[in-house]
């Protein structure tokens, strides 16, 4: 019988220091077959290992439309993430996955999409963004509202530039008041307010949202006011996970196992959840 706890080996092909405490990796499976054929969906997550330190849960930040590698982005906050951040290009780490459910991209075809993300919560949304951009003509208007506490806290800055320069995406970047540097060209203001001003088209609209709880709390009313229904607002929930397999008993929010029936949920589903996350 297969060992469900055994990770695949992946090598760090690229490492980028996104901010003072956030790192992103591009990872390639050591096994040729896996590298060619590894399949996943936007919204899936994995358990990333540093052998000797342990495992940590993050989303797969790349889009499944890109082949041959996966990406992740994480903040160095605890034992595992700090040791992961110290790894260099060429080092081998472990990856278990893909786990969890997915964003139902096909249900978004033909619709207007707004992506709303704050700070370190961009990576899970980025997976969907690239999935959409790689199939751009299947969707209508695409708006991205992304903000962070300060310029220094924005991640994937080089991609923000790329998205800005594309003609088929409306990117609105913002930093919190006081977080702007002297050369800052984006907006200044909290994400929910900036979103309200950007007023993306809610008719036939889908929102993909991820951010710290306080941002979500203030963004949901703005989306509702713009006309988005809770069933059309999609988010990904972060909860303490460990096995990713529905067995260790840690991640449930009421009767929902985040690692199996999540982490992707609609705002309507989240509203039904007990205060357990």
């Amino acid at each position: 019988m297969e060992n469900i706890y055994k990770p695949y080996l992946v090598r760090i092909e690229e490492k980028r220091t996104e901010t003072y405490d956030t790192t992103s990796f591009k990872l390639a499976f050591l096994d040729d077959d896996m590298r060619e054929n590894f399949a996943y969906h936007a919204g899936n997550f994995g358990e990333y290992s540093v052998f000797g330190e342990g495992e940590s849960t993050f989303c797969i930040a790349s889009s499944p439309t890109k082949k041959g590698y996966i990406e992740c982005c994480f903040r160095a906050a605890g034992r595992l993430t700090k040791s992961l951040a110290a790894k260099e290009v060429g080092d081998v780490i472990g990856f278990r996955g893909p786990y969890g459910n997915r964003f139902p991209i096909e249900d978004y075809y033909g619709k207007n999409i707004v992506f709303v993300a704050g700070g370190i919560a961009l990576p899970p949304v980025r997976s969907v963004i690239w999935n959409v951009l790689d199939l751009r003509d299947k969707f209508e208007e695409v708006t991205i509202v992304y903000g962070a506490r300060s310029e220094a806290d924005l991640v994937y800055k080089h991609e923000l530039k790329e998205w800005e320069e594309r003609g088929d995406v409306n990117l609105v970047q913002t930093v919190d008041p006081g977080g702007e540097g002297p050369d800052w060209k984006g907006q200044v203001g909290f994400v929910p307010n900036v979103l309200g001003e950007a007023a993306p088209n809610a008719e036939n609209g889908i929102a993909v949202l991820c951010g710290p709880p306080v941002m979500i709390r203030f963004t949901l009313p703005v989306l509702r006011e713009l006309g988005f229904r809770d069933e059309d607002v999609w988010t990904t929930l972060e909860n303490r996970m460990k096995c990713g397999l529905g067995k260790c008993g840690r991640c449930n929010v009421g009767e929902i196992y985040v690692c199996k029936e999540g982490p992707v949920f609609t705002a309507a589903q989240v509203a039904q959840m007990p205060n357990d996350f």
Binding site: M1, E2, N3, I4, Y5, K6, P7, L9, S49, V50, F51, G52, E53, G54, E55, A77, G78, T81, E88, G90, D91, V92, I93, G94, E238, N239, R240, K242, C243, L245, G246, K247, C248, G249, R250, N252, V253, G254, E255, Y257, K260, P274, N275, D276, F277
Partner: protein
Amino acid sequence: MPHMTLDRTDLPSLAQALAGQGRRLVLPVREGQELFYREGADPAQLDLSTIPKNSIKEFLFPKCEKILEYEYSGNDVVIEDVAPDAKPTVIFCARPCDAASLPVVEPLWNWDYKDKFFNERREQTLLVTYACRTAPDEACFCASVGLSPSADQGSDVMLYAVDDATVAVRPVSPKGKELEEVFSKFKKGEVSDEALEAFAKEGDESLAHRKPLDKVKGWLEAHFEDPLWEEKAFRCIGCGTCTFLCPTCHCFDIQDESVFDGGCRLKNWDGCQFPLFTLHTSGHNPRDTQPKRYRQRIYHKYAIYPEKFGKILCTGCGRCVAHCPVNLSLYDVVATAQERAEKGE
């Protein structure tokens, strides 16, 4: 149909015979004031006076188990799969509540992903269950969760002490039926189905005071924020005794331990009663107080698991009630929920 009987005094020899077929032997023995299931215990020390303090969980889901090994090699890592330490085993004179825990947890260990560590041990384990003539402890409440003192769920063979000197044998599973030859060597007589039915009735009567807990799930689903949790769980000291003695609790932690050239990954018992269980690295803890953690225990057992797998994650063995250092009785809490549900509160 008739069932063979053997002399009670032959039980140790029967244990020896089953072990003699190449199985490690686990049986209940006395240590001080209490009984424990122990591996490799002397069959002559077999003690059936009451329910052992530990459950049989540790023989299928050990407290610490290696799941992976790895070696460092420059930038590279070589990982080695680990085979579960699944030796043929006979658990001799398990109690019905312990045996029944196995079919309860099996769906979880096989929910989409199959845990080979549990499965291979399960396959190699023979369960010879000693039915309880009457509930052995005041804390017992197996009848409340759809079981009984002579339930045979999870068992391969059942033993019934129909009187002080005589034990009837009833194979339950195909694995159990294959052992007829071993058992028949000890045959002294026979009893009828009626004798076993009378035995079961006596057991049921000893727990007649235990109410069924069939409305608890519905009540729980409607009362997540009830003051009951603060009220009842004040005394909980978050010690993990209930979780670790429980035959159906299965939560675990994954830990890496290494030396300079490599190491291993381990799967260790963990519990929802500990504050670290759901603590995020950010410092946020969805269950930051003991009443919330205690609520999770009750919900997992009586609402979440039934919702997901159609079974209550509890076999009513009563260990949590008997051994809680502060006498926080899980039965008391769910019986309160049942009562309130019945009153429509």
